[in-house]
Symmetry: C2
Subunit: 455 residues, 2 copies
């Protein structure tokens, strides 16, 4: 054991998730997972550590600076996963022969990015992603189903005032081309456009003007973006401009996706076609989409995804179409927390069994064991201590029911039940106490998301 004292501390951007938040996260996760299953998705997990060359060349230069490389193996050939999409593509490529032609999977795991951490905005260097992807189909039904599941997710968690921004990489490519952006600059421009929500339109224009585009080009490009009409009108307006083939292909796809979303019973006013939406990652090839909270825009997108038909091909030399989205769990928890919809109190459907004296420890242990066997959640205080000390523990732990077992109780074969909320104390015969506790705790519920009010 080390002799020197080590200051206990966390690496910047890392955090512990404490019990109250964990219990809430568990509830959110259960809801999300239930939904994914209901849509027929199958669970998958991939390892945290991947070969570096599996991850490189898919996200874009700026993103790939944020990899955590491992100082192990031959000259740092390993890295922590940056998202769940590239590992999925690697997995698909390794298993094409065994997998069904259509593979719908969900995956809930941490990812790591050496970003500037902004803990207050729910941005950490380690965060939990919940991904759903449909592999193997070109059909735009997939794109619509992925968007539908994003929306169902938010609805299930009680969000009301959100919007799905929808665009298409090929349309955007066409528009950039119309504005005279060189093909080799497309991704650079996309990555700058992706910052509109973060840094605002003016700064984006300034960044585009610096080195990349002429003022005239920027002006032209933004005429495509500026429309205020509804989705259908915006698409028709663009269509009427008789733009290049890429633009036309994108418009057609988006119209089909909007049609399918209608069949998925998604209200059209939740969807906003935004021709300036770019998404930061390189690998998208078709529809792109993200959801934002209209009242909490600073939190950023809660979900985001799109179609990436060429990614798996990098590993097997022939393309397999794919489409998916990420649900950002940490941002969702941040949002629910800001909306005061988190019950931060530790749930109290729990009983504390005390030990008042070493001599009665055995009695308390036996009682706790019996109660647990009956399905009751029992916290057994592990050591003999004063009533005062154990009650203050119950208080801190938000435990409502405490069983006091001391000399008197054992002599009289009675057990004292103290209700911490009311202060009431009642003695029950040994043989009735379990029944009574069962009745009391069954009424209690675990922590939950409070009912959605329109925020």
């Amino acid at each position: 054991m080390g002799v020197r004292m080590i200051k206990p501390r966390l690496y910047r951007g890392m955090r512990d998730i404490e019990p109250a938040e964990m219990e809430f996260q568990e509830i959110v996760l259960a809801k999300v997972q239930e939904l994914f299953k209901k849509f027929g998705f199958l669970p998958l997990k991939t390892p945290a550590i991947e070969y570096l060359d599996i991850l490189t060349g898919k996200y874009g230069e700026e993103s790939e600076k944020l990899f955590y490389n491992l100082a192990y193996g031959d000259g740092h050939t390993l890295a922590l996963r940056y998202d769940l999409t590239v590992p999925l593509a690697r997995y698909i490529a390794m298993h094409t022969h065994e997998l069904p032609n259509i593979f719908k999977r969900y995956q809930i795991q941490q990812v790591w990015r050496a970003e500037r951490a902004q803990p207050r905005q729910g941005r950490f260097r380690e965060f939990l992603q919940c991904d759903v992807d449909i592999i193997g189909s070109n059909s735009l039904v997939s794109d619509a189903e992925i968007i539908a599941i994003s929306i169902e997710c938010l609805e299930a968690l009680g969000f009301k005032n959100y919007s799905v921004k929808l665009n298409h990489r090929v349309l955007l490519k066409g528009l950039l081309n119309e504005a005279g952006v060189h093909q080799e600059n497309e991704m650079v421009v996309c990555r700058i456009l992706d910052k509109i929500d973060k840094i605002g339109m003016d700064k984006v224009k300034a960044q585009l003007e610096k080195d990349l585009l002429e003022p005239g080009q920027i002006k032209k490009l933004f005429t495509f973006f500026d429309s205020k009409a509804d989705n259908e009108q915006k698409l028709t307006n663009l269509e009427n401009m008789k733009l290049n083939k890429d633009a036309q292909k994108g418009i057609e796809d988006l119209k089909t996706i909007l049609g399918h979303l209608n069949s998925f019973n998604i209200s059209q006013d939740k969807i906003e076609f935004d021709p300036a939406l770019a998404r930061g990652l390189d690998y998208y090839t078709g529809s792109i989409f993200e959801t934002v909270l209209l009242d909490h825009p600073h939190i950023g997108s809660l979900t985001g995804g799109g179609r990436y038909d060429n990614l798996i091909g990098v590993f097997i030399g022939r393309d397999i179409p794919a489409c998916g989205t990420t649900v950002g769990l940490d941002r969702i928890v941040t949002a629910l927390s800001e909306m005061k919809r988190l019950d931060k109190k530790i749930p109290s459907n729990k009983v504390l069994v005390t030990i008042l004296d070493e001599n009665y420890a055995s009695y308390s242990i036996k009682l706790a064991s019996k109660m647990r066997k009956e399905g009751i959640t029992v916290d057994l205080f592990p050591e003999p201590a004063s009533i005062r000390y154990q009650l203050s523990y119950a208080d801190k732990m938000n435990i409502e029911f405490v069983l006091l077992i001391g000399e008197n109780e054992i002599k009289n074969k009675m057990i004292r039940l103290k209700n911490m909320k009311t202060g009431e104390q009642t003695d029950y015969p040994e043989d009735l106490i379990i029944k009574e506790i069962k009745k009391l705790t069954d009424k209690k519920e675990n922590g939950k998301i409070e009912n959605a009010k329109t925020p």
Copy 2:
């Protein structure tokens, strides 16, 4: 996007957890988690990345060679967590003032060790640990409760033929001292003794003889280990030898723990006091224990833990007592798999809604959405394809119920239900089909662990 093709592959010791195994893992995890909660433990998560000096000096030299360091930050000052105990100690040290005096937490997360991977024996370099720990109490009720929860875990998962090996570091220290082992060699000897199960008694003796101990010392040491009596007799035998204070203290603690285990309703024949049990990690200071499957000894210990009263002190300069165990989920799954208790088939309480023609896609999507709203798990085939193609998908996915929706069906307002198991096809009116499917799928259960038979 990269042009060069990258061979899709996994770094040695890493693995993907595929849907069938994931669904099983989810069931096992749910059982374990439910149990931890019933015992009153609270959930916690800590980050994967810790400062290197937080982890160093706690596990022992051999273990610490297995850290995955990160090539980020100033000269590799970061590493992936090696277990969940040291991060817990770091967490406790950072929050002593807010936490209750007794803190019972569970934690279910991956850990990473650059070990020689033995995938067939369920040994990977990334694996899932489920930890329960009681912080803040010296009372041996904690030690007994931790052992009790290990046993309840195994019982809940259907294991019958297992044994809990129990020992005490201070007793072992006393015995080593009686055999003339120098204090500075104690941990080295412990780490060698820890290999008895892996490499056998003879090789352990050979390793001890090399550099460390005289033949006479080894002989003396192993006279303490060789007893075949029951626990109480073994302890009494040692007691009667009137050994040093450390040995006496250990014996006394073990007797108390066995007494408490009795109160926890743990059958004494599940516990085997094994004075040679050493546990490999440096940080233990009191009781140590692990569970092994008597029929599958090659899998190694399924759970393992002990008391570590000095670990938190490294971070805050005053000791806080603690005791806990790890439940090794991957080994448990390996064991259940070897015992053929895993139903590897993907559960089939799922309905496939087909799309037979582009024109009816909208109808199929609407039906799928309605059914999901009714709580039915629906896999929507994402693209128009031949009946044959979609049925072969259903077959591969082990989906029992398929809805066929084509021109005829829509004309006649009937939907065809095909049962993949019986081959039967029945037409149902649109307005009845959801009811019928609900009836059929409600009967189905999700995958489960088969009932325990004494293996």
